[in-house]
């Protein structure tokens, strides 16, 4: 299959390793990965901040970059960006009175997948160790990000994949389904409430004794990681893709 990688702006600029890991996993399965270079961002930050006209060029750019026949499905290592592509792009087009953009955005959204969704639903991966050679000899815990869990309905796909990684121990995170408090500009506009939510997340992560907290959204992990780092807590954050890409020969270190 020809798979287009939507790296998302945060991963592209801040966590290139996660994008590389995504490429590695897919290539290991024998697929061809392409990177449409016209891509930039899903525009979620603009839309969630209420800047709709400013979001338009960003959304148009994304649709233009991905509205091609050059690939079969697109994948992003981020539930919230995929949710934005699927739900927010058509909304914006409708709000700003652009029916043609709405149709194209819907078509792009329909063949855009979050990583675990693609692996489980399309590529039939149920055992990461056996099918991907994933190996990660650490104790981790897992935070399901809100957009993946609720907007995309990912269920336990990410967690199930993590549990089948070779050498791994997965400790359950108390109150896992509670938001970490990131919410994009929410963490800036309502910094106090966001910090109070983050506090609880950090405490819960520390209580598991894990050396890392994994998840499927780089932005939430950056937020949680920032809180762990500030409080001097031991656990790190690590994206699901990085754990799945880790192998016996090339083990990712924390």
């Amino acid at each position: 299959m020809r798979i287009a990688l939507f790296a998302t702006c945060i991963v592209d600029a801040m966590y290139p390793e996660t994008a590389k890991s995504t490429v590695k996993i897919l290539e290991r399965l024998g697929h061809e990965v392409i990177f449409p270079k016209a891509q930039a961002c899903c525009g979620q930050m603009h839309m969630n901040s209420g800047y709709m006209p400013e979001a338009l060029p960003v959304v148009e750019n994304h649709v233009r970059a991905f509205d091609t026949d050059e690939y079969d499905v697109a994948v992003a290592p981020s539930g919230s960006c995929v949710a934005s592509v699927k739900h927010q792009h058509p909304y914006l087009a409708q709000r700003l009175g652009k029916p043609e953009l709405k149709d194209r955005a819907k078509a792009v959204g329909a063949r855009t997948y979050e990583l675990s969704q693609l692996l489980v639903d399309v590529l039939g991966i149920t055992n990461a160790a056996a099918q991907l050679g994933s190996y990660f000899p650490e104790t981790i815990t897992y935070h399901p990000s809100c957009h993946g869990m609720r907007s995309l309905g990912l269920g336990d796909r990410q967690l199930d994949l993590l549990k089948t990684v070779g050498g791994i121990t997965v400790n359950e995170l108390p109150e896992a389904d509670q938001c970490c408090g990131f919410g994009g500009t929410f963490s800036i506009k309502n910094a106090d409430v966001s910090s109070a939510m983050l506090d609880d997340k950090v405490k819960n992560i520390c209580s598991t004794g894990a050396s890392a907290c994994s998840g499927g959204d780089a932005s939430c992990l950056m937020h949680i990681g920032g809180g762990l780092s500030r409080t001097g807590a031991k656990p790190k954050t690590l994206h699901l893709a990085d754990i799945l890409a880790s192998t016996m020969e090339e083990t990712v270190t924390l």
Binding site: K20, H46, V193, H223
Partner: protein, 483 residues
């Protein structure tokens, strides 16, 4: 655009400021956390028992969408049937009109006291305060409303208005505020309920006028309904001679059969019970039984305005179950007072601006009072997509401010710049060439600990990792394309 609502719908200070204050109240946070988590767990359990829960939610949402789409017709049908059964219908455009109508009705009875069934609509229009100014005493009979009233406090939850108080605080309020009370009153729930019962019983027996809200009105039969837990509402609905109901126009349901759906959705979503203890239905006047003067005030107060918003109108589907606030992480930490309106929590953050107009200064910060985690949407029995409406209202807020502002704010500039940078792969690529600079700024421990300007909020409790040397985009060009 139809007129906006009035009354207790407006914030008086921006949400972040009010939230900051409320966050500091550790006792309240503890009480809230305990209470919301208890109801949450109960709700999940009883919802899990119904195999057709999702189908019920769909049914609830469809019935509501249909009644909103034919609202005028439904209301006229209700008016006809309610009148035919001896009731009197009054129409109120806003809070002022509604308050005046009720006051005149009460004055016409010669009574200077009314007992009240818990009602959000009368809260919204500030009826108690208005009656007081007119020399009429209004007594709340719902236990939690009574606690709030005696404590000279404001409700902080639509279903459990005193959720921010624990039992010791309730005992103290009773001891200091009830005219006749056992001085050895303990904070045992049964004892507290007993004290309230003794206090209220006298009011029920003496009252000539009762004022209620309604959970629904049925258009095809002209019936009104109130759903409650304590039975105090039923006392008010049956003992007095005059009964005045104030109801938002969005509460009308087309058919008698619709009750079946909502009686499954509402109790489970609100108190986590399979069924609430008391459901009262009344259709006009029944000779020699119950109130003989029966009125309803149909209240707009911004509802037609909300109805005109094609993205926001589904907020009117709300059945006030409070499930959204019980699962909301922001509400859990700030409580209801931070929202500055009769309607707190996620639904309040969209309903208040929809009813009163986002361009009104006081409401601008409400749609941002959410991390958009979606827990509210998942819990809502009538599937109101609250996160989507929040984002939509943020768009309206920015558009409204754009027209007013002369100088762009920091946020405006950031978004404009972002629009350029993220509007083309080439542009973001150019900016990413500066990543090593960020690395430099992070220093030896590879952490950025302080950001300037509006971003400073982030670094109040979080570090930012040092950026990488090279973006993925550049890595791809170098490694993959040169192959």
């Amino acid at each position: 655009m139809p007129a906006g609502g009035q009354g207790n719908l407006f914030e008086t200070e921006p949400f972040p400021k009010a939230a900051h204050r409320e966050l500091g109240n550790t006792q309240m946070r503890k009480n809230l956390r305990h209470a919301t988590h208890t109801i949450r767990d109960k709700r999940l359990k009883v919802v899990g028992e119904l195999p057709d829960w999702e189908a019920l939610r769909d049914a609830g949402s469809t019935i509501k969408n249909n009644s909103m789409a034919t609202l005028e017709e439904r209301l006229l049908e209700f008016e006809k049937n309610f009148t035919a059964r001896g009731g009197v219908v009054h129409w109120a455009r806003d809070a002022d009109e509604a308050n005046k109508i009720v006051t005149e009705l009460v004055k016409a009875t010669g009574s200077q006291e009314v007992v009240k069934v818990k009602s959000m609509a009368t809260q919204e229009i500030g009826l108690n305060e208005h009656l007081e100014a007119e020399g009429i005493d209004a007594f709340e009979t719902d236990l939690a409303e009574l606690i709030v009233q005696l404590g000279h406090d404001k409700p902080s939850h639509i279903l459990v208005p005193a959720i921010h108080k624990n039992r010791t605080e309730v005992r103290d309020i009773f001891l200091s505020q009830m005219p006749v009370v056992d001085p050895n009153l303990t904070d045992e729930p049964a004892k507290l309920a007993e004290a309230a019962r003794a206090h209220l019983r006298k009011k029920f027996l003496a009252a000539k006028v009762a004022i209620s809200g309604a959970n629904f009105a049925l258009a095809d039969t002209g019936t009104l309904g109130v759903v409650e837990s304590e039975g105090n509402g039923r006392m008010c609905l049956t003992l007095p001679e005059t009964l005045i109901t104030v109801m938002g126009i969005e509460k009308v349901l087309p058919h008698w059969e619709d009750v079946e759906v909502f009686m499954q959705l509402l109790p489970r979503s609100s108190t986590g019970e399979r069924m609430n203890p008391y459901t009262s239905l009344w259709t006009g006047v029944t000779e020699d039984d119950g109130p003989q003067n029966v009125h309803i005030v149909l209240l707009d107060n911004g509802r037609t305005r909300a109805l005109a918003d094609r993205f926001g109108r589904s907020a009117l589907n709300c059945i006030r179950c409070s499930a959204c606030m019980n699962v909301c992480p922001v509400y859990e930490r700030t409580g209801g007072h931070a929202y500055g309106s009769t309607y707190p929590g996620p639904i309040g953050a969209i309903l208040s601006p929809l009813l009163t107009g986002i361009e009104v200064e006081e409401n601008g910060s409400l749609p941002y009072a959410s991390s958009l985690c979606g827990a509210c949407y998942e819990a809502c029995p009538v599937k109101i997509n609250i996160p989507e409406i929040l984002v939509h209202l943020r768009g309206d807020d920015v558009d409204a401010k754009r027209e007013k502002h002369k100088l762009p704010t920091q946020m405006d500039l950031l978004m404009k710049g972002g629009s350029w940078a993220l509007g083309k792969g080439k542009n973001i690529g150019l900016l990413e060439k500066a990543l090593p600079l960020g690395r430099l700024a992070a220093g030896k421990d590879k952490k950025i600990k302080k950001l300037p300007g509006i971003a400073a909020g982030w670094t109040q409790s979080r570090d930012i990792p040092a950026p990488p040397n090279k973006s993925f985009r550049d890595w791809w060009s170098d490694e993959k394309e040169s192959m």
